[in-house]
């Protein structure tokens, strides 16, 4: 087990290097000069040149890349836009995004799995119809629009919850719900399909024939087997929430990483974008590792492998 974890952690190195090369190339392929954009309206030629020189933007690309990687290793990088050390900029924002993503994945797992299980067990009942309509709406509704609707209802009209910003737990509810709705819909559909499949297996019919109570069959024999694909989906969705929370962050004024990276793309702050992407990629890999470990927990057969 330990060997497995170490091997997977070592694999992170080539992944991160690969991600750094790809993000570096893409950022340098799109037209636009950070010095030009950051210097602002009315900047003189001299102003722009001094920014270029300072960040080595006049050097050949290969050299810029190695300078960048050296900076990553020695932790000596600064955002071109704000001139502040890059980790000072990114880490608090990353923590905020992770917090939002975590709460939202918990909410959506609870909602999604409950709906999925219930609708599979009570197939073709009104609950099944309701939860499938719910998940259709959830998947199709744009996050942006849903967020604004929730704000208008719960913050502007009812005044139950704050309309945005960061603060106590109450500030988390609306953004986490908004972000979690689509995810919970996906989880619900996946759970339903998976539970239905297991319900039709021979061994379930056999234990049913033995006369075990239905509740026990579901919890003990069905769920455990049905969970594996669901855990995969939850893991993938969590990665998606980490990187895809930009819209939710914008609508609720949540100070997260996504919005910062997008703003950095617009101002061609290469350093912030590249480090931000490397951070997200690393988390993605780690979450996947976690998912694999959870597999082993659920399915004893995988522990030996």
């Amino acid at each position: 087990m330990l060997k497995f974890v170490v091997r997977r952690l070592l694999l992170l190195i080539p992944v991160v290097i690969g991600v750094s090369i790809v993000s570096f190339s893409i950022m340098h392929m799109i037209p636009g000069d950070p010095a030009r954009i950051i210097a602002g309206e009315g900047a003189t030629v001299e102003d722009i040149m001094s920014i270029r020189l300072k960040y080595g933007l006049d050097r050949p690309l290969i050299e810029q890349y190695f300078r960048f990687m050296k900076g990553v290793i020695t932790n000596d990088l600064r955002s071109i836009r704000t001139e502040r050390p890059i980790l000072t900029e990114l880490l608090p924002r990353f923590a905020n995004t992770a917090q939002l993503a975590l709460v939202s994945i918990i909410i959506s797992s609870v909602i999604g799995m409950t709906l999925g299980i219930v609708s599979a067990v009570k197939r073709n009942s009104w609950i099944d119809t309701f939860s499938m309509v719910f998940s259709l709406v959830g998947v199709s509704m744009p996050i942006f629009w849903l967020g604004i609707l929730l704000i208008i209802l719960f913050a502007v009209t009812l005044r139950w919850l704050p309309s945005g910003g960061k603060g106590g737990v109450e500030h988390l509810i609306l953004p986490a719900l908004t972000l979690g709705l689509a995810t919970s819909a996906i989880i619900a559909r996946m759970t339903r399909a998976s539970v239905l499949e297991v319900l039709n297996q021979d061994y379930v019919r056999t234990v049913a024939a033995f006369g075990l109570p239905k509740r026990k069959i579901i919890y003990k024999y069905v769920l455990r087997n049905a969970l594996i694909p669901v855990v995969t989906v939850i893991g993938l969705q969590f990665g998606y929430l980490l990187s895809g929370a930009v819209l939710t962050e914008s609508v609720f004024g949540w100070p997260g990483l996504g919005r910062f990276v997008v703003d950095s793309i617009f101002s061609r702050d290469y350093i912030a974008v590249q480090v931000g992407i490397m951070m997200i990629a690393t988390t993605f890999v780690l979450v996947n590792l976690l998912v694999d470990l959870v597999y082993a927990l659920i399915d004893p057969r995988l522990r030996r492998g």
Partner: protein, 515 residues
């Protein structure tokens, strides 16, 4: 008895209408502050936050007149090549350091030696800063500069405590996070991407100010969300609401909306270096064919005003030329004269950079269609757009028409005319210092006038040169003159005394909450 009643009424009304002390204003901003080091500030949001912490020798008032700030008065000597400033006494920085002539010199020395991002505002203009005595400073210029006081009023002219420069000056990031000025509010905390908090300066030199205890600037990226937060009472103030929401907001009794004209003009630049736009008749025809009134009324919903000069009517030096009234027949006739009926042109535009920028481009496409000009509108992402339009490489100069905005940082006209219309700043001019003339416009008469405008300190003559230059530029039509932007702020009813400047600054120094 009657006298008593009058006195009572007077006292009561003072009590009711007098500004009240205390309270917090929550001010929503669209993006995080970039930096709070004055010499590095590139954007209007950092300026808005910074202006509450810092002050310079002089300042702009709401009408963009230069007023004394940390300098009580000044004299202009030696035909405009030297300025003597008499400094206000008993002013202290937030860390207790004295504001005096040494502090002024130290700030300019720091700006030049650290080569801060906005050093260009003074480089080549200021020759020397001399300490005459503790409260007198003499600034010597290389040559007269008509905009010098306006330059001092910009954010790069704000003063940082000399102690802070000693301590943090070696690192702009530390300077940016430890802003120490003389202003009405003291910096307390900056949570990256989230908020900046300022608290009242109890020792502020302007007696009785500020009224507020605290200002919290909070970042909310989405304009609709900013509006919703103010409506929900979770914030007190935001600016630039989406124009489409204005009607709804006006009906909300808890809110007030303040609209103020700005120095920003929006225009369509015409590349005069190649046919058909090298023909002045075609350029004038395009101007006649655009109905600016309708753009402002229907599309911008009152958040813009038709413009008739390269300068906004708020900018110092503005002269109303009359511009081009909407006249499609004249447009058709001019096009016919020039031999261009059934003209095809391309218009590139940013999308979301300025209020309704892309929508304006599409509306103009429709208007030009009516005079027989087919326009292809191409939106571009801002970063790519800027790098194309401000490129010094000939292969990038293939554009025909482009939509752009310009707001002079100094709030006076030289900062418009020199970078945008002087032939030395054409993209193809090798020794350009501010290359923004991407229409490849050149007119020797205009060059000469701009030169004079830069040096003239006699206001009467200066305004005369400004007038001449604007008339010629409008006549030559390197732009389609569109509109001047207004800035709209949405705030809670109880918030009073907010000052909004035409430079897109929002000032809370005299603001108070009426509870």
């Amino acid at each position: 008895m009657r006298r008593f009643v009058v006195l009572l009424v007077a006292l009561l009304s003072v009590a009711i209408f007098a500004a009240k002390y205390g309270g917090t204003v929550r001010f929503l901003i669209g993006v995080d502050v970039t930096t709070l080091l004055p010499g590095n500030i590139p954007d209007s949001i950092s300026t808005i936050v910074g202006m509450h912490i810092f002050e310079g020798l002089v300042d702009y008032d709401e009408n963009l007149k230069i007023i004394p700030a940390l300098a009580e008065r000044w004299e202009i000597l030696d035909n405009g090549t030297a300025y003597v400033f008499h400094l206000r006494k008993n002013v202290k920085f937030h860390d207790g350091a004295d504001f005096n002539a040494q502090a002024v010199k130290k700030n300019f020395d720091y700006l030049f030696s650290a080569n801060l991002r906005n050093v260009g505002v003074y480089k080549g203009i200021i020759k020397e800063v001399q300490v005459v005595d503790d409260y007198t400073v003499k600034i010597v210029l290389f040559q007269p500069n008509s905009a010098f006081l306006y330059r001092l009023a910009q954010s790069s002219g704000w003063f940082v405590s000399p102690q802070a420069i000693e301590k943090f000056g070696h690192d702009p990031a530390l300077m940016s996070k430890n802003p120490v000025g003389t202003g009405p509010f003291i910096f307390k905390e900056w949570k990256a991407g989230e908020s900046v908090e300022l608290v009242k300066n109890p020792n502020y030199w302007r007696q009785g100010l500020p009224y507020l205890d605290r200002i919290i600037f909070r970042v909310v990226a989405e304009d609709v969300s900013r509006v919703n937060q103010v409506r929900a009472g979770d914030a007190d103030l935001m600016y630039n609401p989406p124009p489409a929401l204005l009607a709804v907001l006006e009906q909300d009794k808890a809110l007030q909306i303040k609209v103020v004209p700005t120095v920003r003009t929006i225009f369509i630049g015409l590349n005069t270096s190649r046919p058909p736009l090298n023909d002045v008749r075609v350029r004038q025809a395009l101007n006649y064919a655009v109905d600016k009134e309708r753009l402002c009324k229907v599309l911008m919903r009152g958040l813009a005003k038709p413009s008739d000069s390269p300068l906004s009517s708020m900018t110092f030096g503005y002269f109303s030329t009359g511009g081009y009234p909407y006249d499609p027949n004249k447009a058709k006739q001019l096009l016919k004269e020039a031999g261009y009926e059934n003209l095809k042109l391309e218009l590139i535009t940013p999308k979301g950079r300025y209020l309704n920028d892309y929508e304006t481009a599409v509306a103009i496409q429709g208007m030009l269609k009516e005079v027989g000009v087919t326009v292809d509108v191409k939106p571009m992402e801002w970063g790519s757009y800027v790098s194309k339009l401000l490129s010094r490489k000939p292969e990038d100069w293939d554009y025909q028409m482009f939509l752009l905005g310009w707001a002079p940082g100094t709030a006076e006209g030289h900062q418009v005319l020199f970078p945008l219309f002087h032939s030395s700043n054409r993209m193809d001019s090798p020794n350009a210092t501010m290359p923004y003339n991407n229409y490849f416009y050149s007119n020797p008469k205009v060059d000469e006038l701009i030169q004079k405008i830069g040096l003239e300190i006699d206001e009467k003559k200066l305004l005369e040169y400004f007038k001449e230059a604007q008339k010629i530029v409008v006549q030559d039509a390197p732009w389609i003159f569109l509109y001047e932007m207004n800035i709209a702020a949405v705030m809670r009813k109880e918030l009073q005394g907010v000052k909004i400047h035409p430079t897109e600054r929002v000032n809370l120094a005299e603001a108070w909450i009426d509870r």
